[in-house]
């Protein structure tokens, strides 16, 4: 009975993995979300959420570090969340700068322009970080969106940044829920497997 459950779980996991690697159902959603300027992202809407780098991670997991993947991923999410938060606050600050009178420095000349410039640069740095870690865990689509986002920040296009952020957050949430699901299954599978092989229970 339990063994059957474990087998089914494994099958489920495989299905989910397949889904994550070859994603199609997401296409319509993307179409709705995408702005003409970010529509070029569409080409990879047919791409998988994950790529082979995730396999690499799984390969790295062995007896000495049995929870390596989930550890890495959880750190990834923790870090990404921070980065996203920063990016969001920077963007809102930029919005304020865009709209608000930035006048209180008699002595400092190019304060506002400087500020704007540094803010966009900061966003770029954060995105670089996110991109690096995303590519390391194999979050392919997050990485792609980051790329677009970074391009927007390099062009100092606030609206472009905002749109990219929207897509990025959507993408990120999707990845998070799916991976969470995956890990839960994995856990159940391990438990089921453990139960089957447990000497006391067998």
């Amino acid at each position: 009975m339990l063994g059957l459950g474990a087998a089914r779980l494994e099958a489920d996991m495989n299905r989910l993995m397949a889904l994550l690697f070859h994603q199609f159902i997401w296409k319509e959603k993307m179409e709705k979300l995408a702005h003409p300027s970010t529509r070029w992202l569409m080409w990879d809407s047919a791409q998988g959420v994950l790529d082979e780098q995730f396999m690499q991670l799984q390969q790295l997991q062995d007896e000495s570090s049995p929870n390596f993947v989930s550890e890495v991923i959880s750190i990834y999410f923790r870090e990404s969340e921070k980065l996203l938060k920063n990016v969001r606050s920077l963007l809102s600050a930029l919005h304020l700068i865009r709209t608000f009178v930035a006048n209180w420095r008699v002595m400092f000349l190019s304060h506002r322009a400087d500020r704007e410039c540094t803010d966009y640069r900061k966003i770029g740095i954060h995105l670089n970080q996110l991109m690096g870690s995303s590519s390391s865990v194999g979050a392919k689509r997050v990485r792609t969106v980051c790329l677009a986002f970074r391009a927007a920040s390099e062009h100092r296009s606030w609206s472009g940044c905002l749109r990219s952020l929207e897509v990025l957050e959507h993408e990120y949430c999707y990845l998070k829920t799916k991976l969470h699901e995956l890990f839960q299954m994995e856990q159940q599978r391990v438990m089921a497997a453990g139960a089957r092989h447990h000497p006391l229970l067998s």
């Binding site: 082979e52 780098q53 690499q56 991670l57 390969q59 790295l60 062995d62 000495s64 570090s65 390596f68 550890e71 890495v72 750190i75 990834y76 870090e79 304020l96 709209t99 608000f100 009178v101 930035a102 006048n103 209180w104 420095r105 008699v106 002595m107 000349l109 190019s110 304060h111 506002r112 322009a113 740095i125 670089n128 970080q129 991109m131 690096g132 870690s133 590519s135 390391s136 865990v137 194999g138 970074r150």
Partner: protein
């Protein structure tokens, strides 16, 4: 002969009768026939009427008038008849005379020749008596014709015929005369018999009465007459509720009761007394006819003797009108209220719109003007760093200063409108008045183009730290100082600061308000704090040069600060009024210009405006700002002697608690820094910036702006470089100078100066002990050189004469500090990366893994670190991890590595730079000065000192493998160009890594 008036007056007395229109013919009668007159509505006391007509003046006059009129009419008729009679008799006489004449003529007809006298016929047109009787005239004409035809003129027969005819005519005339006489007699007789005045009068009266009845029968009026005692003698009432006997002989009060009765009674009495008619509106509310409003007209009636014998009164029911009027009034009132509200609303809307528009304008202005302007100025600044010839540089300077001016102007206008619209919020921060004064003076001195002495004095009673809007205070001071400098050509300009005991109860309130306002604008505050933060950073780094000598007496200083804090405790949250004077020895302000001094766009005179320029906004802003802070700004001035601008500001003194809080917040300032700073300020309350005779140095160097900007940092650099010298004591000062030159080529002038400074003391660098002494000297002289470059000598800024032992001490101290901070850093990073090994751990493990292949991973991304670490572990290697280029360099300095994986994009120092530096070290054997340019120069100095012994060991080229994410900035070619050996693209796969390692790891 004149035209005779009409024979019979058909419309005799027409004009006179006009007032009796009712007597007019025909139609009236017909009208009256249809009308049935209710006699009974009119209630008359006939006896009284008689009395009235007999005794009252009005009545008798009316009667006399009627009689007189009648008499007049008749006399008139008689007169006319008599006239007619006269005329007729006259005519008769004439005719008789004619007759006689004719007879006489005829008598002498024979004797005389034909008539010399022209015969005048009475029938001739001019004296046509019968014009009105054409019948007879035609007869006459016939006679005439007959006369003309029948006889020959001027013959006897003619005259006979003529005589006969005339005789006939005469007879006719006599006949007619008789008839007229008869008619006249008849008329007279008729008159006598027909008309008696009484009859006519009574008829007239009757008719008048009828007409009155006819008119009044439906009118809502009450007409009455009351006697002297206000008893009714006559009443005509349209609303008869009472019988005649109920009214006649009674007063109003006796007849009915209720509201208004008393009033009407009083009114009538008043009229009676005053003897003049009056009108009044009286509202009755009686049980008899309910609530009604009457318009009452009362007129007094006088006796012949002129006494009042009663009143006539007439009342008209105007209840409806009154109600309507009241409704109208109410409506009008409502409309007025509505309108007032509307205007108020409109005003509010207008104001709101104005405010919105103003805000919009502000935003637009700042954005639309400032951003392109900053672009222009920024570009110009960048341009200033490029190679330019002298003329170009001059042009650029003008461009920059103009740009600054415009920016300043825009800021001024924005500031002013901000203050005026109430949008200006004060942001309270802690600050040190001494520092502010010094900084303001320093800034002013830096851009000073005149030979002026700038001085500042801060009295001892001014607290070390106060709370206030430091930016605004600085703005005020800067404004006033630049103003003073502008109008001063020789002498001095200065700032005096001292505390005054003035305390007003309202000030605290005001400050509190300011505080809450500041709290509301958290965003602003945030911005501000970051600004101040950076400012403090700069300050502290600036002051780190003087830290050395201060550390020496650190115990003393601590004692001092303790005292300080005690003082603070006593003055817990006290408000100190700081009086600030900005004085100059300039041209002064004429007395008549003083009132308009603080007005917008006003300058002392048009001449001044032309001569000195400026917008006239500065002082207005200052005043508004000072007032916003709860102080006041005044000025005293004497022409040609100078002016003093004085303002008093309430400043809160921070409590000790807040002080310590602040330390926690501003991590950038370490505790000892503060102690050093404050104590220095304690000692140096005065600052003087004296003008130097400007030498070639000043004129020769390129851009002033740059000089002043780099001033602080270059001093710092000087120190670092000296440290560098100390560390690697084995190379010549020449080298050092040239390197310096290479790294600071923008400040070539400075490095030139340094070179000259450094050269003579080359040999002195042999021993370490001497070194330190020299460094102090270098520092001092560098400073001097620096300052003189700006045209000033800064006194009391730093006395860096120190002996070797002290320097040693400081170095030790700093080493310790930095080492500890470094350790803390490492600890932190190791905390966050559970699996990651920090170099400090590694150091301990060094002996164990010494034999194995040592790999350093330089990567800031934790995930990447984890993955790479895990992969390395699988490949059988242990790696050290650092988070950025700088750390990588430190790690390389600290220990030996066989392979470095270097991420390209990293904070603080990226992979490229780190690689360059490492390569340069490998080539030259020493670390480039700019390595130490970071925040922890002391650390590098200590490290390199330690490391100096195995410097030779380091010379081997470490393979550096770049890890790129394939973005534009990090192309493979760049990596190789920067001295990297190979690269792996990210994300790193197991396969890639393995391949890469194969190349470098000896198996």
């Amino acid at each position: 002969m004149e035209v005779l008036p009409s024979m019979w007056p058909e419309d005799i007395g027409n004009e006179a009768r006009k007032q009796f229109n009712m007597e007019q013919p025909g139609a009236d009668r017909d009208m009256l026939e249809d009308v049935t007159i209710k006699e009974e509505t009119s209630v008359v006391d006939f006896k009284r009427l008689l009395e009235l007509t007999n005794y009252s003046e009005k009545g008798s006059s009316q009667l006399t008038y009627l009689v007189k009129h009648w008499e007049y009419r008749h006399t008139n008729a008689v007169r006319l008849l008599n006239e007619e009679l006269n005329i007729l008799s006259k005519q008769r006489q004439e005719v008789e005379l004619k007759k006689l004449e004719i007879l006489e003529e005829h008598r002498f007809e024979d004797d005389k020749h034909a008539g010399s006298k022209r015969p005048v016929s009475i029938l001739e047109e001019a004296c046509d008596v019968w014009g009105r009787v054409p019948r007879k005239r035609s007869d006459v004409v016939a006679h005439n014709r007959k006369l003309d035809i029948d006889a020959e003129y001027d013959t006897a027969t003619y005259w006979k015929l003529r005589a006969l005819q005339v005789e006939k005519m005469l007879e006719e005339t006599i006949k007619r005369e008789d008839a007229l006489m008869q008619k006249l007699q008849e008329n007279i007789k008729n008159l006598e018999t027909q008309t008696s005045p009484v009859e006519e009068l009574s008829q007239i009266l009757k008719r008048a009465d009828n007409f009155l009845h006819f008119i009044l029968q439906t009118a809502p009026v009450v007409i009455g007459h009351q006697d002297k005692e206000l008893r009714y003698r006559f009443i005509y009432n349209h609303f008869p509720r009472l019988e005649e006997e109920d009214i006649i002989g009674k007063t109003d009060e006796e007849i009915f009761s209720g509201a208004g009765v008393k009033e009407i009674q009083d009114f009538k009495r008043e009229v009676l007394e005053r003897g003049s008619p009056a009108k009044r509106e009286i509202t009755f509310d009686t049980p008899l006819f309910g609530s009604k409003t009457f318009l009452i007209y009362v007129e007094p009636v006088f006796s012949k003797a002129g006494e009042t014998i009663g009143v006539n009164y007439m009342g008209m029911d105007v209840s409806d009108q009154v109600a309507r009027r009241e409704r109208m009034a109410k409506l009008r009132e409502e409309i007025a209220v509505q309108k007032a509200k509307e205007t108020e609303l409109n005003k509010t809307i207008h104001i709101t719109e104005e405010t919105m528009r103003a805000k919009q304008m502000l935003a637009t202005m700042s954005h639309e003007i400032r951003s392109p302007l900053t672009g222009v100025v920024g570009m110009a600044e960048i341009l200033a760093t490029t190679k330019l010839d002298k003329e170009q540089r001059q042009l650029l300077d003008v461009m920059l200063s103009s740009g600054d001016l415009v920016l300043q102007l825009i800021n001024d206008i924005l500031d002013l409108s901000k203050v005026e619209s109430g949008a200006m919020k004060l942001e309270d921060t802690k600050f040190r008045p001494r520092e502010v004064v010094r900084h303001v003076l320093q800034t002013a001195a830096a851009s000073l183009k005149k030979e002026l002495t700038l001085e500042g004095h801060v009295a001892d009673d001014v607290p070390v730290e106060v709370i206030g809007d430091v930016l605004r205070i600085r703005q005020i001071l800067t404004n006033l100082i630049s103003n003073a400098i502008k109008f001063t050509h020789e002498g001095k300009v200065g700032i005096n600061l001292h505390a005054v005991s003035e305390q007003c109860p309202g000030c605290r309130e005001r400050r509190k308000q300011g505080l809450t306002a500041a709290l509301q604008s958290t965003r602003l505050a945030k911005e501000n704090s970051s600004e101040t933060q950076s400012y403090i950073d700069r300050e502290s780094s600036h002051c780190s040069t003087c830290q050395k000598d201060l550390h020496q007496n650190s115990t003393e200083k601590h004692h001092l600060t303790n005292e300080d804090t005690e003082k603070h405790n006593q003055q817990y949250e006290k408000i100190v009024w700081v009086l600030c004077e900005v004085y100059d020895t300039g041209i002064g302000i004429p007395e008549k210009a003083l009132p308009s001094l603080f007005k917008k766009y006003m300058q002392a005179s048009a001449d001044h405006a032309r001569k000195y320029g400026g917008t006239g906004l500065g002082l207005a802003i200052c005043k508004q700002l000072v007032e916003l802070m709860g102080g006041n700004l005044t000025v005293t001035s004497k022409e040609h002697c100078g002016s003093i601008f004085t303002f008093v500001l309430p400043c809160e003194v921070p409590s000790k608690r807040e002080l310590s809080d602040d330390h926690d917040e501003n991590e950038a300032i370490s505790d000892c820094d503060i102690a050093a700073d404050s104590s220095r300020d304690e000692i140096n309350g005065s600052f003087i910036f004296k003008p130097l005779t400007r030498g070639t140095l000043f004129s020769s160097d390129g851009s002033m702006v740059h000089e002043t900007k780099l001033f602080g940092s270059s001093m710092l650099d000087a120190l670092h470089i000296s440290n560098g010298l100390l560390e690697s004591g084995s190379f010549s000062s020449n080298d050092c100078a040239s390197r310096k030159r290479a790294s600071f080529d923008t400040v070539s002038a400075i490095s030139d100066a340094k070179k000259t400074q450094a050269e003579p003391k080359g040999p002195a660098q042999q021993s370490l002990g001497n070194d330190a002494n020299d460094i102090g000297r270098i520092n001092r002289r560098d400073e001097g050189c620096q300052d003189s470059r700006n045209g000033f000598v800064m006194h009391k800024f730093d006395s860096s004469i120190m002996d070797s032992s002290r320097t040693q001490k400081i170095t030790d101290l700093q080493q310790g500090k930095m080492a500890s901070s470094d350790r803390a850093n490492m600890a932190e990073s190791s905390k966050s990366l559970q699996t990651c090994q920090s170099p400090t751990h590694e150091k301990e493990d060094n002996c164990i893994s010494d034999s194995s292949f040592k790999i350093l991973l330089v990567e800031d991304n934790k995930i990447n670190v984890m993955v790479a670490q895990s992969m390395m572990k699988q490949l059988g290697h242990r790696i050290d991890v650092v988070n950025n280029g700088l750390e990588a360099i430190h790690a390389v300095q600290r220990s030996h590595y066989d392979l470095i994986f270097m991420d390209v994009c990293m904070p603080l120092m990226d992979g490229m730079q780190a690689t360059r530096l490492i390569r340069s070290f490998e080539e030259n054997g020493y670390w480039d000065a700019s390595v130490t340019n970071g925040d922890d120069h002391a650390m590098t100095c200590s490290d390199t000192l330690i490391h100096a012994s195995n410097a030779g060991q380091c010379r081997k080229r470490i393979p550096i493998i770049a890890m790129t994410a394939n973005s534009l900035a990090e192309s493979a070619a760049d990596c190789l160009a920067n001295g990297m050996d190979s690269f792996v693209s990210k994300p790193v796969t197991f396969q890639n890594l393995k391949q890469c390692l194969m190349q470098y790891v000896p198996c």
